[in-house]
Amino acid sequence: MPRDCGHCCTRISDLNVKINGHHILQNINLHINCGEILAIIGPNGAGKTTLLNAILGEMPYTGKMSFLVKKTRANKPKIGYVPQRLQIEPNSPVSVQDFVSASISNHPIWTGFPKKVADQCLECLKPFSAEHLIKRKICELSGGELQRVLLATAMVPTPDLLLLDEPGTGVDVSGLVLFYELVRGLRTQHDISVIIVTHDLFGVAEYVDHLVLLNRSIIAEGTPQEVLSDKKTFETFAFHKL
């Protein structure tokens, strides 16, 4: 069960997003404590990515979003973000070591890696069984390997809020199980809040504390059992033939 330390939380109240006069998100109210894993599920086009972008500060919205970090109100919490995919070409020369070092250190990567930076990089990858990937190019990684590298990088420095965008994309079942196990481990180790955005309703249910069904507005929410047994969940997904 999640441990609510009462020190940090993310609260979203009355969030609305309009694009060209169309309501993409309507009256979203969410509350997530530290140590809690929340999954936002919904069919394609439900506004999941828009909500994520609003939390990341990339999408203008109306409403209120507040973050409480260690009992103090923070305008900008440290957000660890694991994107759905990267914008790289099949022959991109960026290696895992390049990517991780560019993210976590200021040492200019094109001059090579002194031992300190290389060690830092290994340290970062180790807990995610990804240290053997260090010399590989990121464009050559499998879906699961890439997700682990992205997760490792998102955890340095330890974020207050971890956002995972469709972690199941291009990942096989065993890879996804390993990934969710890692995320669950992080929650207990670091007491961070985790938000997972996915359309993979059944894959994620086992690993989360709270489920929110989104389709432009919140359709249902509660524990995974509650949401999965809700008639509205069935209707929403059956309608979209997912």
């Binding site: 957000i79 994107p83 914008q87 790289i88 991109s92 960026v94 070591q97 990517f99 200019p108 094109w110």
Partner: protein, 282 residues
């Protein structure tokens, strides 16, 4: 300072072309320009800005035209100013609209060339501007050499400070933003620097081949690189070697040096491509 260089070249290369001061200056220019172009090029390719840098180079004609209309004596300052403004304008456009930048840049490029040609060709006076099209590296002066060295320092500093951030941005912009990187300012300052690099060298390199000097070394280097360090280093090496070879061959063939350099750059691209295919098939 420059005399030491002349003596050094005559000592290292006891051939007929080293007797000419313009060849020795051009060689120095190639050695100085190529690394800057290669380094900027690696990021132009990574950040998918190939078309963008082409537009900047093409804007030369329009800025020359503006210079002519307002009677400026020194066109290069107008050119730099115009290209910088254009770079900032395109960035704003990109931020504000959801238009496909490919199409917008295509239209802009055509318009800006047409505008320049229309103004410059009034009363049939276009031919005196044709050096800007194919460039003339042999006409380099010692002042220009000094400005290239100055540019070198700025580019190197920029890379040292912002290289990591630019690479992260090329991998995923949202991810970079979530790590506190201000994408808009980073992109704008990179494009402004790119505009300056292009404009300072446009008369030497030429509008038509400017982009190939930026893009080909990076593209060739991509074929054989497995990390950013080798990517940058081999782009610089490919650029310098093709540059020197092209310059020397252009002397013996009596051809335009810029274009000859591009031929050798393309050759190096083909060689790296074949090399990569052989490695893959093993």
């Amino acid at each position: 300072m420059i005399d030491i260089w002349y003596k050094f070249i005559e000592f290292c290369f006891p051939f007929s072309w080293t007797h000419y001061v313009f060849m020795k200056n051009a060689l120095l220019a190639i050695i100085l320009i190529s690394p800057v172009f290669a380094q900027m090029g690696t990021l132009v390719v990574n950040n998918r800005m190939v078309f963008f840098s082409d537009v900047l180079a093409h804007s030369t004609l329009a800025s020359l035209a503006i210079g002519v209309i307002f009677g400026f004596q020194e066109p290069s300052l107008v050119m730099i100013g115009f290209a910088v403004l254009l770079a900032i304008a395109i960035n704003f456009l990109k931020k504000m609209s959801n238009l496909s930048m490919d199409t917008v840049l295509g239209i802009l490029s055509a318009f800006i060339v047409a505008l320049g040609v229309v103004i410059l060709s009034r009363q049939g006076g276009f031919s005196k501007f044709s050096t800007y099209l194919i460039g003339d590296i042999l006409s380099i002066s010692t002042e220009q050499l000094a400005s290239i060295i100055f540019l070198w320092v700025i580019v190197f500093w920029f890379w040292y400070k912002y290289g990591n951030k630019l690479i992260l941005m090329s991998v995923n912009a949202s991810l970079a933003r979530s790590r506190g990187i201000n994408i808009f300012w980073l992109e704008t300052s990179f494009t402004v620097l790119l505009a300056i690099v292009i404009m300072v060298n446009i008369k030497l390199v030429g509008i038509l081949i400017m982009n190939s000097l930026l893009v080909i070394p990076a593209a060739a280097s991509r074929n054989i690189s497995r990390n950013i360090k080798t990517y940058t280093l081999s782009a610089v090496l490919i650029s310098v070697i093709s540059g020197i070879t092209g310059l020397i061959f252009s002397y013996y063939w009596g051809t335009a040096s810029g274009a000859t350099i591009v031929i050798f750059l393309t050759l190096s691209y083909v060689i790296t491509l074949i090399y990569a295919k052989i490695l893959q098939s093993r």
